[in-house]
């Protein structure tokens, strides 16, 4: 006689046994998937956390630099003023004033400002003429076969300089007279200056090219900065950082690399620029520390190489 009840129980147990391996496999796969997902998320979080710590350090470093930037921006504003004033002297293709002149001491700046106040409009053009004067003598020595026009220009420049020197303590009338004289000269300089610039460019081509490029770069960078301010694209800030680094403005390069890192902390190139800028700013230890932290979470070979170069002194 069949004991159906017992048979049903045994069948239930049998089915449980039969399903056990499937349940075990599915459970284990679920655990594996969950653990993989956890590790992926964990890595992701850690990647986010580490750079944030770095950024805190960097931001603290960044503060003094912003001050410097202000000072440089002041310099740049002064430079702009110089250029603007120079433009008022009607010389359109005026070359940019060299950096050495920009980085004048505060006393010199004050003197210039005083002169501006005294001479009102004409004083900047005098500076420009002075600069031309300072450049022309070697040309005269080097190129003995200068044409008559150059000689005349020299003479006229010397004369005007002398007159200006005389005109400093003079009255407003004298100033007007000088102005009239300059007005007389005014039609000539655009042509003359160009002619003068030609030999200069022959002697010192590099300076000329650099200046032009800088002007273009600055326009480009300004444009890029405007765009960056609108959309906060890290690619743009990285571009700006690279350009500033190339042009030797390491503090700005540092700041823009830092901004890039704040937006996206996984851009290797940005960290490289950031570290290089630090080295250039004589903050080698900080650069090494930053690179080590970055290598710690990214394993970047480029960063490792740069670290080696910095440590070995290859990169200065």
């Amino acid at each position: 006689m069949l004991d159906i009840y017992d048979l049903e129980i045994r069948h239930k147990k049998y089915k449980q046994k039969q399903l056990a391996p499937y349940i075990a496999i599915s459970a284990s796969t679920a655990v594996v998937i969950a653990s993989i997902a956890f590790f992926i998320l964990y890595d992701f979080n850690s990647k986010i956390e580490e750079p944030q710590q770095q950024i805190v350090i960097q931001q603290s470093v960044a503060k003094p630099v912003t001050k410097d930037e202000n000072s440089t921006s002041q310099n740049s504003t002064a430079k702009k003023e110089d250029i603007a004033v120079a433009q008022e002297a009607v010389v359109k293709p005026q070359p940019e004033i060299p950096k050495e002149e920009i980085k004048t001491t505060p006393i010199e700046e004050k003197k210039i400002e005083e002169k501006r106040e005294e001479k009102v409009i004409l004083s900047p053009s005098l500076n420009f003429i002075n600069s031309i004067k300072s450049q022309t003598p070697p040309l005269a020595k080097k190129e003995s076969s200068n044409n008559n026009v150059n000689k005349e220009v020299k003479k006229s420049l010397v004369e005007t300089q002398k007159k200006q020197e005389e005109a400093v303590p003079a009255t407003i009338e004298n100033v007007k007279q000088v102005a009239k004289k300059q007005e007389v000269i005014v039609p000539a300089p655009p042509v003359v200056v160009e002619e003068i610039l030609a030999p200069i460019s022959k002697v010192d081509n590099k300076n000329n090219i650099d200046i032009k490029r800088k002007n273009n770069d600055e326009d480009d960078i300004k444009d890029v900065i405007k765009r960056f301010n609108v959309n906060h694209n890290p690619a743009l800030s990285l571009f700006v950082a690279k350009r500033y680094y190339q042009s030797g403005e390491y503090e700005k390069a540092y700041n823009y690399a830092l901004t890039t890192n704040e937006i996206n902390n996984n851009i290797e190139e940005s960290w490289i620029i950031f570290s290089k800028s630090l080295v250039k700013m004589n903050k080698k230890d900080m650069a090494i520390e930053t690179l080590k932290k970055y290598i710690g979470h990214s394993q970047s070979s480029q960063a490792k190489q740069l670290l080696d170069d910095i440590q070995s002194g290859k990169f200065k």
């Binding site: 159906i4 048979l7 045994r10 049998y14």
Partner: protein, 271 residues
Amino acid sequence: MKPSVYENSRDVFLDTVNANDYVQLERVSSIYQSLRNSIEKPLKMILLYGKPGTGKSMFLSKLHHALISTQKAYLYKTPILDESEFFKTLAQDLYDMKYDSELNFTQFMKVVESVELGSAEIPLILLDEAQLYSTVMMEKIRLLSDTRKVKFVIALHKTEKEDLIAKEHFQTRIWESIKLENASNSELKIYIQKKLMKANCLDTANMFTQKSVNLIHKLTNGNYRNTNKLLYSLFDIYMYYEENNPIKIKGSEISTIIIEMSAIHTGLINA
């Protein structure tokens, strides 16, 4: 009270060896035909081997049933292990000679050799479960077959031991060797359905889909005896549910659960 369809179906699978219950399967029928042909040839011995439950006994039974009307054929379903008893039984069946005293092999050989028979009258002895005979006894059976006065069809389980016996003692004398195997999926389905239809259990025969037969084949490995046991138990459970819990058997197909339950009951599943 009229027996239920499940009861009839259950009884179909009672594990009995009855030639009338023999189910003609394509492969088995071809084997059967070749065996019939072999018997007609002047062979000394025919070996029929296979795993337990592959239908050897049924095969012999069917053969005996078919031959008995045309020639002298004697089926010994259980081995006669005592030597004297074995020869005395043969002497009585083959030659109507009764021996009250002991009859040893030498005496029986003299009797066999003294009988003059035509080739059509050579008696056929069907020995089932021949693996139970001793080696010495098997050797004497071989010597008897060498007289060409008697033919033997020996059915034995195919194991390593039996293979050895076959090789060592009968290799030169066995003219025909037939192997019986378990049923395939499709053969098992035909076997079950034919068996049920023979008993007019058409409804239950239709309940066996290929899926349920596959499961049965998986559990029984196509072994006929195990299949009979399983299906007997299965219909037993069906009978129980029919009386006590009909909702469990309302499906038009054989329930997988009940197949598994009957497999547990018959020991095919160790649960």
